[in-house]
Symmetry: C4
Subunit: 210 residues, 4 copies
């Protein structure tokens, strides 16, 4: 009862990746800490303390949507990628290492965004992490499609070319966001929001069904 090894490989690699995505995305909430308040004025203090957590909520939302989009994109490449090899597996481990790291810059952002002297560093580290994530994702895709290495024989060559170009948007945009961090941190954060919104509303995405 030998399995078809290629399919088996992809299935387990996808399952493992999904696990890491799911855990990294869910751990984000652990970085939102219940505020401690002095006993004397809870009535007014708790709503105010919760509002002061806005950098945590903002970080949670941006990182959740970003990881969610990364998951959807990772998911999408397995419409084309039908086999794995050791190198692909290792690039994928490197990519997941970057994804799993995201709760740290998110916590850094939540902690230092309200601090004038710290926010530039926090936003720059956050953007730099996403530059690396996006480069790793491109490496994964390009390794797989190079000379059709891991693609199905009957894959749509035009779609693959379009996707290859489109995925460049990630490192470029996050690179812009990183550069902007040194000019204006809010502009840098806005790039993250715009990128997320672009992926969400993008009507002509080649991976979209029907």
């Amino acid at each position: 009862m030998p399995r078809r090894p290629e399919q088996s490989d992809t299935v387990r690699l996808e399952a493992f990746s999904d696990g890491v995505f799911a855990i990294a995305i869910t751990l984000l909430v652990l970085e939102i800490h219940v505020p401690s308040i002095t006993a004397s004025d809870h009535g007014r203090a708790l709503p105010a303390a919760l509002l002061h957590l806005w950098p945590s909520f903002l970080g949670y939302t941006i990182s959740f949507v970003t990881i969610g989009i990364m998951w959807a994109n990772h998911h999408s490449i397995f419409r084309y990628v039908r086999a794995t090899d050791r190198t692909f597996t290792l690039i994928n481990v490197g990519f997941l290492m970057c994804i799993s790291f995201l709760p740290f810059p998110t916590a850094l952002l939540a902690e230092y965004l309200p601090v004038p002297d710290g926010r530039r560093t926090a936003v720059a580290v956050y953007s730099a992490t996403l530059v690396v994530v996006a480069i790793a994702f491109n490496a994964l895709w390009r390794y797989a499609v190079w000379e059709n290495r891991l693609l199905a024989d009957d894959h749509d060559r035009a779609a693959v070319r379009v996707i290859t170009t489109r995925y460049l948007l990630g490192p470029v945009s996050y690179g812009v966001s990183l550069a902007l961090a040194f000019v204006n941190v809010w502009a840098s954060l806005a790039v993250h929001g715009l990128l997320a919104a672009y992926y969400v509303v993008s009507e002509h995405h080649p991976l979209r069904r029907r």
Copy 2:
């Protein structure tokens, strides 16, 4: 060896969602902290300190059952939903973002339920989170069933109509619970308990087997 893309999509989306549900539900226990006691009177102090953790145990139980029911309901819609598209995937990410957030209001509830001036805010935040969860769940279902967008061709139209109506119970009930938080927090919490009990005992649920 092209896969049937629709099935593949649903399988991986379900697996990813199951992962997030499983992690969010399991992280709840991390919010129950081992009590610290002064060394002088452990013998009597530890049982008493554990009893004082009742808000943590209550929050753990309500949130666990609530996430468990959400999981069962999410599970149920894939009896009818047989395909995904990008929008459905993104609504699902939004829904999971709300589910993953639940450990935070649960920890807030456990911390501030015993504090007279803080409990109203804590219960209101908890209920408000579940209102958003329920709205996101309804959005997911309604997007899928609108003009039979993602349903099997041979689906049971009557059952789909019944379910669509029934799912409205969620946002309405949690909305009532949110309003009650400003009148009486215990009444608000009772609504959560009753809703959980309703789902558990509900005999004529259309999704029930046989």
Copy 3:
């Protein structure tokens, strides 16, 4: 393309349960805290401080093996259980709620086992949790086998009867361990070790292959 609903149900329920088991078992390590030492005498202090963590290592090991065995047993019942219904799903959620709770009594044990006045309470809470886990597991199994409700048509009736009797060992043994906690905490812990060892070496387990 309707799926066979029974199989689909079992697959997703098993996957979700596996997720919760895997997370609960892996979260145990978070309760082992890196010791803090005064800077003056690291050289000798760190090895000594690590040895003083023995209750954490003991708790980690007992709970890991216990959850591992529970997982193997949960796994085993799906050799016989081939369908799910709403009640079975809900009993399973209750069972998983108990499994997910285990990191808390494990942390309690690690913290209070070295404290003479606290250890009785810690061991009793630990054993009581496992009594509830074992009762929930029996409820799950008995619900499924009652009048062959969720079994395959061609199941081995003799094996099912043997298993039903054997599963009683869990609540009874953990009950003994709970009672012993009030007499001698080390005897109570020994029961946990012996139970784990019994499951590990048990040669004639009816679920064993070949």
Copy 4:
């Protein structure tokens, strides 16, 4: 509708293992703590504080790559192993117990690597953990291949022999790393880095495709 039990067993054991691997690897990030800085000099202090986290980043990277390689190897053995039995399941639980433990020595390493008097102990504990991991992995493989106990009938006998020899590299190398910890901790850490690099670049790995 009886399932083929062997395949079912392997599938669920692999899924559970993947879950534990994915969680252990993702929990590593929780040990990297956002630095706290005095309010007076954030501007210069935060970049410096982040650089001082280098032992955390190093530990994260080494442990992530190590667990990733262990996952890839665990994954690989199921090209040959086609069935499970109770003993194999229990050895696997023991193996996973060691994998799940890794976040603790990683945190220990991050905390004590910069401390001259503590780093020897930290590196030794880290290496010793990996010796145990590697022994457990060899036990798992050898149990499965002994008299072809759990292999497919048509397995490649030569490849199995090569793999069996090759897997010995793990315990031996980590043993060398453990011994080196008592001579020079940096040499010991270098062995971990070299081992990871060896697995990554190893061209003639028998498990490699094509």
